[in-house]
């Protein structure tokens, strides 16, 4: 649906790599272009008209994002993306409070950005990174989560929706259980925020990280959400312009309140404005509508793929727009190159979830990640091309 809104879809391509990044609707591109063309000034000045307009647009985007995930305005920090947000959470909030022997729980299907910041703390702070065992369909069950918790567990850090398996985590239940055991919950929302309605208050997570570009917004901008009292405690890793109130000497440095304190330097103004436009756009369609559309498209795709004997789907059961599979005897990358000849864009590889191979026994997969502008007709074309294994073998070079 809404295909006419996306300039990229005017090209003769079928885009199934939405888990990597989504296309941008014209309204997002226009909002950014409008900033650069008509009121290009810095933020946080406000001494002249166009600069004042920038402040309004920038802070209005913050309000839009806050409303989109049911947070307060001062709980939204703009970052360069989910990766930076997760690093700020690990380094700015947890590094000062975790002690050697404290445990952080993740899983083998986490994206690198929700693994490596914790690995770093294991090296520098002596924390222990442990794994919640995945069940047979690669999902996280409450039973396995409870089994993994020890008296030393301080943090559970999970993707809301994983980028290869596409499973949706029971975050509300996880937060409730974690908090009753004094454990913090960090949510990597890079995939989930784009795919389903996010309500941080109902979920009650402590932190949430996500990127604009995976939800119809521009690249280079993302969000760090944290409960106000927790954001207060984040030690700024970047210091400089925009985030200080005043300074006279080493001893006399006064910083601004959150969230501005955590946004040093000139921010990605056009990006933030673009994100605000993306949030408006998605809200107009409706996140529930988007989720239903993705589940329907995924179901349609899986029903067709399971009839092809040489295709093995890794994640048949998940209720999201992600399908990871392999063609028997053909390297995933060769399948991707074959499909590329027919202008079909898919991703092959480990998709930055490099430990997942230990859980599924497969290093490489072809990943189809759908978004609401994909169609059943596009899926038919893909399935038709995958039907004949000899055709793939003959044409993959």
């Amino acid at each position: 649906m809404n295909r006419e809104d996306f300039p990229m879809l005017k090209q003769d391509i079928i885009y199934f790599d939405n888990g990597a990044t989504t296309f941008k609707p014209k309204c997002v591109i226009d909002a950014m272009s409008e900033y650069y063309s008509n009121y290009c000034a810095n933020a946080h000045r406000g001494d002249y008209e166009i600069s004042y307009k920038v402040d309004l647009a920038y802070e209005s985007a913050r309000k839009k994002v806050a409303d989109f995930i049911n947070a307060s305005r001062d709980e939204i920090v703009f970052t360069s993306g989910a990766t930076e947000s997760l690093n700020m959470i690990a380094n700015g909030f947890f590094a000062p409070i975790l002690e050697p022997g404290d445990e952080v729980l993740i899983t083998l299907s986490e994206h690198a950005s929700n693994v490596l910041p914790w690995f770093k703390l294991a090296k520098t702070n002596g924390i222990i990174v442990n794994y919640i065992e995945l069940d047979s369909n690669l999902h996280v069950s409450m039973a396995n989560l409870k089994k993994a918790i020890t008296p030393h567990t301080r943090v559970i850090s999970l993707a809301g929706l994983t980028n290869v398996v596409g499973d949706i985590r029971p975050l509300k239940e996880i937060c409730e259980f974690a908090h009753s055991n004094n454990i913090f919950v960090v949510v990597d929302g890079a995939q989930s925020v784009a795919h389903t309605k996010t309500d941080v208050k109902a979920m009650d997570c402590d932190f949430l990280a996500f990127s604009a570009h995976k939800m119809c917004g521009p690249t280079g901008v993302g969000v760090l959400y944290g409960k106000s009292e927790l954001l207060e405690s984040i030690v700024p890793t970047n210091l400089g312009g925009g985030m200080n109130e005043s300074f006279d000497s080493i001893e006399e440095v006064y910083l601004k309140d959150i969230p501005t304190r955590l946004e040093a330097g000139t921010p990605n103004i056009a990006g933030v404005i673009g994100l605000g436009a993306a949030v408006d756009y998605l809200s107009n369609i409706g996140m529930n509508e988007i989720e239903l559309c993705l589940i329907k498209l995924k179901k349609y795709l899986v029903e067709k793929l399971v009839t092809i004997p040489h295709i093995k789907i890794i994640n048949e059961e998940c209720e999201s727009g992600i399908v990871a599979f392999n063609v028997d005897g053909i390297f995933a990358q060769d399948v991707a190159y074959y499909l590329n000849k027919y202008h079909i864009c898919v991703r092959a590889g480990n998709h930055c979830a490099k430990m997942l191979k230990n859980a599924i026994g497969v290093k490489n997969t072809v990943r189809i990640s759908l978004y609401f502008y994909n169609t059943e007709k596009e899926i038919d074309k893909l399935v038709e091309l995958l039907q004949d294994k000899n055709k793939i073998l003959n044409e993959m070079i």
Binding site: Q333, D334, Y337, N364, N394, I397
Partner: protein, 149 residues
């Protein structure tokens, strides 16, 4: 050779790669080449005596282009001197980088001349050459030490 024939040679070398697998590694220099973005991963075992490539074998998991390129490289270099192999390798590099090159030297490796223009395939085609050059460096290093001794 037309595009179809080139594809046939590539696929034949992928389906039946030359010297894949190794039973006895004694006397071989082992090097690895991998492409982290797509999990191409090849171990090369190179036996060099008196500056001659006596034997090369390989193991690993990789895409059709990387496997096929390794197979063809092995057929081209076994029995040749290090100098000849370095000359051949530099011409292959020029081909993948779209620089002028001498196609006469490349022989069967010319089959990759159009494949390397698509997407990231040049990285796949060049994958075994990284491992080969490293093995030659190691051989030269050992040789230097012996000379010093």
């Amino acid at each position: 050779m037309d595009a179809n024939e080139k594809r046939k040679v590539i696929l034949e070398n992928y389906s039946h790669p030359y010297n894949m697998g190794i039973a006895e590694t004694d006397g071989y220099i082992k090097t690895n080449s991998n492409n982290v973005s797509c999990i191409d991963n090849i171990d090369l075992y190179v036996k060099i005596e008196n500056d001659i490539i006596k034997d090369v074998r390989f193991t690993g998991e990789a895409c059709a282009v990387a496997i096929s390129s390794t197979s063809i490289m092995l057929k081209e270099i076994i029995g040749k001197s290090i100098d000849d192999v370095l000359a051949y390798t530099s011409q292959f590099k020029n081909m993948v980088d779209d620089e002028p090159y001498d196609s006469n030297i490349l022989n069967n490796a010319n089959v990759f001349d159009s494949v390397v223009r698509t997407g990231n395939r040049k990285v796949c085609a060049y994958l075994p050459y990284n491992a080969l050059l490293e093995a030659i460096d190691i051989y030269k290093g050992v040789d230097l030490k012996e000379k010093k001794g």
